[in-house]
Each structure stands twice: as C-alpha cells, then as structure tokens.
C-alpha cells in the first residue's frame, strides 16, 4: 500500500510542481518586462477562470484543442508520433462544408449536421489513416509523412477555396459558399460556448476507455510497447495501426467540422490557424492520456484567454502568452525525466513483506493444485 501511495503522490506532485515552477519562471519574465508578477497571476486567473463569463472564453478556446490533441495522443499509444493534426482538421472542415452544401436544406438540419460530422470524421480519418498505412506497409516515417500531409491539406484548401469551391461573391477573402443558417451548430444553451466543447469531452472520455479499458486498446498498447512481442502474440499490428490512426484523424476531422459548422460557416484560410499545432502540445503535455488532455486543454485555453488582458492591462507584448505557454510545456516535458529520480518517492525495498509478484492488470493469480 505504502508504495502505491508514494507513487500516486509522485504523479500528483510532479505535474503540479512543474506548473508552479513554470509560473515562477513566467513571473521572472514579467518582472523583467516591467510588470508586477503577482498582479499578472491575478489577471490570468480572473481572465481565464475567475468568472463564469470569462471562463466561457477559456472553454471556447479549449474546445478545438481537445479534439485536435487526440489526433496525436491516440497514435502515441501505438508508439507513433503523428503531427498531422492541422491537415486532418483542414480536410475534415472541407469535407464537412462540401457535405453541408450538397445536402443544403433538402433534409432536416439535424441530418445535415450529422452528415457533416460523419463526412469530417471520415475525411480526417482517411488523411491520418493514410499516414498509418504508409508507416506500416511502406515503412514511411509517420512523423514526416503526417507533417507533409499538412502542407498538402493546406494547399488543397487554398486550391479548392480559390477555385472549384469558390463563392464568386467572396472577392478579397476567397471562401466557399456559406452553409445555410439552419444547418449551423448552435451554442450550448445558456452559454456562448458551441457544442464542439461537449464533442471534445465525449471524444476524450471514449478514447480513454477505448485505450485503457478494452482489449482493442490493450492490443494497441502492447503493439506500442514492443512491436515484436505483439507480432509473436499474433496481434494484427498493421490493422491496429491503420485503425488507431483513422480514429485519431477522425477526431481532428471532427474539430474541423465544428470550426466550420459552429464558427465560420464557410471554409476559408481561417480554418488553418494553428489549432492542430496547439493540439500536439496538448497531447504531449498530457502524456497522451485522453482524460488529462481535457485538463491541459482547459489550462491552455485559459492561458490563451488571458492574453487579451495581459496586453490591455499590463501593456505586455502580444507574444507574452506564447512565452507562458512555451514555459509551461518545456517545464512539463522536462518534469517527465524526474519520475523515479526524487528520493522521497523511491520505494523502500526492504519494508515490503509480500513475497508474491505484483499481479498485472487483467490477470488473475494462477491457482496451482
């Protein structure tokens, strides 16, 4: 018991310690820029989390990050580093707009919305699934291929929006035709936060159970842990790779759908503003744990939401929030290396009395007659 208690304390202490350390570092930065660090902390808290009206700002900014973060977090459990979030998001948004415009008002709005979501998920899924397929069957490095797929997606967006899908009346900012108003996603009642937030939370919870609590997730983790062992055990590694990548891409694709159907109403260059890259950071800071990704997204959303106040009230430069964000991520990633290094959290091997080997999850003790 005492051992697992210490480990739990360690896994709480290190992330929160990292957060505090990055706050202190950021305070030094603010001090150097001529702002009172304590006042800045207070402002970040008020602007990001303090009141319900400002907390909604945080939620709005966090929503796309959750879905986009899953695009990196899921394949990471298979040992793959996928950074094609931006591309999958853009492609998902394009597919959603194409579907929404095709269906138009011929069917009820709910069906249009479901159709747009499915189209976005399939398109995004195929996009990242392709990177997974290339990885497994053609041995193409998935990081590079997914990164390059981003550029292709953005080029495709620019081409379609500037050519075949262009609304001729969108003169100086080429865009597709707008979605019908009835087909737009509304806000969650009583708030100004769109439904994308709920999609994000649900997707993260589902992803968590899928990876941690199902045989499928277990096989994926085995393949991620040791691919040869997985093969020896007869796991279909190729299929797993493609399916997990497909699911990851479909999350980012859904984020794209939400962005066009809840915010922009059209597909244009505003689709490609860095939600994908934000998602990569969220996934890494969350240790690729989907539930932690929810919290990290909220944290990042809060930091981003406070950016306005920092500029307006403290005359800090606009890059301040990026500095803060960068510090948090650097310190969090560095803190990873501290696991098992701090003496206080080390288990004391001499005290333990139980001679039996620790049972691994899902495996009942073998009863020998």
């Amino acid at each position: 018991m005492s051992a697992s208690w210490r480990r739990k304390l360690e896994s709480l202490f290190i992330p929160f310690g990292a957060l505090v350390a990055s706050l202190v570092l950021f305070g030094v930065f603010c001090g150097l820029s001529g702002a009172n660090p304590l006042a800045v902390y207070g402002a970040i808290w008020r602007a990001g989390f303090g009141q319900w009206s400002t907390f909604q700002n945080t939620l709005i900014r966090a929503a796309p990050l959750m879905l986009s973060g899953l695009c990196t977090a899921l394949p990471a459990r298979l040992g793959l580093v996928i950074i094609g979030n931006e591309g999958a998001l853009v492609i998902g948004g394009l597919a959603a707009v194409a579907t929404g415009l095709t269906l138009g008002t011929s069917v009820p709005p709910l069906m249009v919305q479901v159709g747009m979501a499915i189209a976005g998920m399939i398109a995004g899924g195929i996009w990242i699934g392709a990177a997974g397929w290339l990885r497994h069957y053609r041995a193409v490095n998935e990081t590079i291929s997914s990164l390059l797929l981003n550029y292709i997606a953005i080029a495709l967006l620019n081409h379609l929006v500037g050519g075949p899908m262009k609304d001729p009346s969108s003169l100086n900012k080429p865009s597709t035709f707008p979605l019908a108003d009835v087909n737009m996603l509304s806000s969650i009642p009583g708030t100004r936060v769109h439904w994308g937030l709920l999609y994000g939370v649900i997707a993260c919870v589902i992803a968590y159970f899928l990876i941690q609590r199902t045989t499928f997730g277990f096989s994926a983790r085995v393949a991620g842990g040791n691919i040869r062992a997985a093969r020896v055990a007869g796991l279909p590694v190729g299929k797993l790779t493609v399916i997990v990548c497909f699911l990851a891409g479909s999350c980012a694709g859904l984020a794209g759908m939400v962005e066009v159907a809840a915010v922009q109403g059209v597909a244009n260059e505003s689709l490609n503003v860095g939600y994908g890259y934000g998602g990569i950071m969220v996934a890494f800071a969350a240790h690729h744990n989907p539930l932690a990704a929810i919290l990290i997204s909220l944290l990042v959303g809060g930091i981003l939401a406070s950016g306005g106040t920092l500029q307006r009230s403290f005359a800090l430069p606009d890059a301040t929030v990026l500095v803060f964000e960068g510090l948090v991520f650097l310190v969090v990633l560095f803190s990873d290396s501290l696991y098992g290094k701090l003496p206080f959290f080390k288990e004391k091997p001499t005290i333990t009395s139980s001679p039996s080997p620790p049972p691994s999850p899902g495996q009942e003790p073998v009863v020998t007659g």
Binding site: A47, Q51, W52, S53, T54, Q56, N57, I60, R61, N158, H159, G162, G163, L171, N172, K173, P174, I188, P189, G190, T191, R192, L198, V205, F209, R213, E259, V263, Q264, G265, N268, E269, S270, V273, G274, L304, A305, G307, G308, T309, Q311, R312, P317, D318, A319, P359, P361, G362, Q363, E364, P365
Partner: protein, 393 residues
C-alpha cells in the same frame, strides 16, 4: 485484482457509476443552464471619456498592415487626452477575435472598436455588433452592405492603388531598362488592383516598361517572398515592390541584392536605406484622428451622422507617399508630383479606357472611364498589358 476490492464493487460497477454520474452532471448542468452572462454594453467609458479598442491580426511592428494601423491608433490617442486606447495584437480571425472584442467591451468598457483585419468582419464583427447595439464597430475593409448589416457597423478602406500608381511612375523613371517586379500574395481583386495601378503608372511615363509578378499564395510566406526577389534580381529586374502582409523580407532582400524597391503599407526606408525610392503608405493617423474627432463631438453611426462607408485616396488622406529616396532623380520627382497634383484636384482617373489586359483582350473599354468608387474595380480579375504573369485558375 481480487485482493484489491473495496466495498465489494467490481471495476465494471465503478466505471458504470462514474459514467452515470458524469452523464447526470452534464445533463443537470445543461438543464438548469447558467444565467446568461451578457449584461449588455458596460458603460465603463462614461460619457466624457471614450474608450477605443484596436485589434490587429499580427504583431504591431511588422513593417506592414498592422504597423500602419497601430501607428495610426497611437497618433490618434496622442491627439486626444480624454481617449483611452486599448490594443490587442496577434488575434486570429476566429472566435478569438469575438472574445477579444467582448473583453474590451465588458471588462474595459470600450464604446468604439476598430477590428482591423479583413477576415474579422463576417461572421465575427457582424454577430457581436448585433449583441452590442450601443458599441460602434469600424472595420477596415469596405464590406458594409446597407440594409443587410447592423446599423452600428461601419467600414472604411483607402484607394491605396493611387499611391501605387505614383510609385510606378517613380520606379519606371529610375529603372534604366524599365524592368519592374511585384511580389504579391494572392490573385484577389485588391491585390490585382495594386499591381495594375503600379503598371499603369509606370507605363504612363515609360510605355515599354514591364512588371514581372510573382504570387506567393499566402499573406505571410517569408521564404517564398525572399526567393521571388532573388529570382527577380537574377533576371535583371531593377525595382521591386510588393503586396504582402509584411514587406520587410522583400525590402531587405532587394537591398541585399543591390536592387531598388518601393514600399507598401508603411515606411520601410530603414530596411533599405540605399534602394528605397518611395512607397505607398496608409495614412491612418489622419483618418483615425478625424473620425475620433467626429465621435467625440457626439456623432455616431447609429444616428447616421457618420457614414457607414468611408473611402478615399490620396486626396482624402487615406494614403500617402513615403519621402523620396536618394536614388530618385529630379525628373522622376517632378513627374510623380504632377501625378499627385492630379489626384489631389480629382482630375486623375487611373482606369481610363482603353486598357488592354496582358492576354490581348480589352479590360476597360475605350468608352469607359472607371472612377475609384466604381464597383467594377472591386471585381478586378485581370492583369493589364505589360504585366508578366497570370492569375491562374
């Protein structure tokens, strides 16, 4: 596993319980709802003091579009002691700009907002303007539609192609062989209009001049912009100019390659002290100061005393020329000054037929004389004769 059971609950039961609780929590939260937080426009600014918010899509020191607006805002706030200026930079054209504007209104009590990026307008400014009917929104872009858009929204933009026309004159008279270059972001009407006016200005003094155009495809593509200038220098092009978000790279590369340049958006003399000839600059300082004078006298968009559409060129002080560089000859200065004088007295029409496009077709018919306000110019989809390049798809 079996030895670690607490309260005789299986893991499955615990999970089910957690799911049920979560679901209940979500529905309960949605059901009760939280009271809407918008309390209407806060009157924090008070009657005497105006609080004016400026929002920029990029950094305030980009030597480009954003810097031009930020300098205008600073000059305006310097002219009024009672005006409180609040600014936010690097705000993307997403829900982020809505939240920024909302924060300015709710927290800082802003009563006038200037969202200065083109893409802020639809849907972001439009949706927020309906929510806050007492706040005036002035958007840089000229997109207002009478009767369609909210009454508290105004739109302003300058005919900066007039300044590009003058730049074209200076460039053509300074270049020995009349070979000019233009680095452009996208083949959209506002960019094409600048290229064409630059070319027409050049051809008005040197009919054989040519302009090589390169489209980089996006507003901020520093690597492609540098490559474009390098290849132009290799081809023997003598003067380059540009229409991208930040002309910094184009100017610096031209200077390094020893060719000349004319600026855009803001004054870039400091980036190219030897080769900078002149430049087409926005004059937002004059515009903002005049507009805020009107507002502080009690005029507003809502009662119609400020027009919803504010446009103008050199004469109306929406744009201006950079001071002439050292390499500009007296003849070139005289020709440029003559053109400026024509703009000032209103007698200059840039798009005066006949104008041919660069495929040999007729762009502006002989009978046509398109004044700056003409909507046909807003839909420009051609490059005039002398421009080397194509607008693609």
């Amino acid at each position: 596993m079996s030895s670690k059971r607490y309260l005789n609950l299986s893991r499955r039961q615990v999970i089910r319980g957690m799911l049920a609780t979560t679901a209940f929590g979500l529905t309960a939260k949605l059901g009760t709802g939280c009271s809407p937080a918008s309390n209407g426009a806060a009157a924090g600014g008070g009657a005497d003091g105006l609080t004016i918010g400026f929002i920029y899509v990029g950094p305030k020191d980009d030597f480009g579009w954003n810097q031009a607006h930020a300098e205008g805002a600073a000059a305006m706030s310097g002219a009024f002691s009672s005006v409180k200026l609040i600014e936010e930079a690097s705000v993307p054209e997403t829900t982020a700009v809505v939240e920024s504007m909302r924060g300015m209104i709710d927290i800082d009590g802003a009563n006038v907002l200037f969202p200065t990026s083109f893409g802020y307008y639809d849907p972001h400014v439009l949706s927020l303007a309906e929510e806050y009917p007492d706040v005036q929104f002035f958007h840089a872009g000229g997109l207002y539609q009478e009767g369609v858009h909210p009454n508290n929204v105004g739109s302003y933009n300058g005919y900066i192609d007039e300044a590009q026309y003058v730049s074209g004159i200076v460039a053509a008279m300074t270049a020995n062989a009349g070979r000019l270059g233009f680095v452009a972001a996208k083949p959209i009407p506002s960019v094409l209009r600048n290229i064409n006016s630059f070319m027409l200005g050049a051809r008005s003094v040197r009919p054989e001049a040519t302009t090589q155009v390169v489209f980089t495809g996006d507003w901020a593509e520093p690597i492609k912009e540098a490559e474009a200038v390098n290849s132009m220098a290799d081809q023997g092009i003598e003067v380059v100019t540009c229409h991208v978000d930040s002309p910094k790279i184009v100017m610096e590369t031209a200077e390094r390659r020893g060719i000349m340049c004319t600026g855009y958006h803001a004054d870039q003399l400091s980036l190219a002290p030897n080769g900078y000839l002149t430049g087409a600059e926005w004059d937002w300082s004059s515009f903002y100061t005049k507009l805020v004078t009107d507002i502080s006298e009690g005029k507003s968009l809502m009662d119609g005393s400020i027009p919803h559409m504010l446009r103008g060129g050199l004469r109306e002080q929406f744009c201006k020329m950079s001071a002439y560089g050292a390499a500009v000859s007296d003849e070139a200065k005289a020709a440029a000054d003559a053109a400026i004088a024509q703009f000032m007295d209103g007698s200059m029409v840039i798009y005066d037929g006949e104008i041919k496009d660069n495929n040999g077709g007729v762009a502006v018919a002989p009978s046509e004389s398109l004044k700056q306000q003409d909507v046909k110019l807003e839909q420009m989809n051609y490059l005039v004769e002398g421009v080397i390049g194509s607008i693609g798809s």
